[in-house]
Amino acid sequence: MKIEAKKIHCVFAWSWDIPGDCQDGTQGPSEEDVCGICRVSYNGTCPNCKFPGDDCPLVIGDCNHNFHVHCIQQWLDTPTAKGLCPMCRQLFSLKRGVSINEAQVEKFAHLLMKSRPTALTTDEEDIMMDQEFLVR
């Protein structure tokens, strides 16, 4: 018997590369794994995006809580957030050494600075105090 392939349909599946210890299962995120803010699958989009993937990436927190970048960014931008993870209320920072986090590092460093203006002013006051002491 001779088989001739006339047409080929290629189908691809993708999912975010979440390291094993950042999720419950061992094989990639399942549909059960949802963003703790918008409750849409990691592989889906935040409420404002149309296309999943690089346009609406996922980030992994140091606390192992994962969110769509747009969701967690919008949260950290509110004054109520105080820079905290919505799930565990620890200061939210990106987990290091995770490939999908790399493109977002700078953005989140900036957000973290913004969330601690009070801490910064105290530091500045401390420095000014120190200088006064030096003058005396």
Partner: protein, 151 residues
């Protein structure tokens, strides 16, 4: 009006299909962000014989902003004022988008079970509560009989 976010649709569906015991929440026909809520008074609290009506509104920024919740039924409680406004940390400074309508309503039910006169909203009630707790609890029972729907 912009379409309703998926999260709100999901939450509403679950509130109806898998309701929290002692709590109901029904979205309004004309405004799916406005809910009519009832909470049963917790057992062993002065509110236990009554069912309390509340209104809950999801602002445009929800879940970045907490839902707005208010008691419609008159209630004698140190953390709820005469306009029905509720003093509860998760509705204000401790809001998190990981919380939901159901968890907020559970927190309110828990607040009924454990009034906190040291962090008052209704100052006169809180004073009564601290001065003479027994009398305050009796008054809360009486108001429940007078104003709440019987269970």
């Amino acid at each position: 009006m912009a379409s309703l976010p998926k999260r709100i649709i999901k939450e509403t569906e679950r509130l109806v299909s898998d309701p929290v015991p002692g709590i109901t929440a029904q979205p309004h026909e004309d405004n799916l962000r406005y809910f009519q809520v009832t909470i049963e008074g917790p057992q062993q609290s002065p509110y236990e014989s009554g069912v309390f009506e509340l209104e809950l509104f999801l602002p445009d920024d929800y879940p970045m902003e907490a839902p707005k919740v208010r008691f419609l039924t008159k209630i004698y409680h140190p953390n709820i004022d005469r306009l029905g406004r509720i003093c509860l940390d998760v509705l204000k400074t401790n809001w998190s988008p990981a919380l939901q309508i159901r968890t907020v309503l559970l927190s309110i039910q828990a607040l009924l079970a454990s009034p906190n006169p040291n962090d008052p909203l209704a100052n006169d009630v809180a004073e009564d509560w601290i001065k003479n707790e027994e009398a305050a609890i009796e008054k809360a029972r009486e108001w429940t009989r007078l104003y709440a729907k019987p269970k």
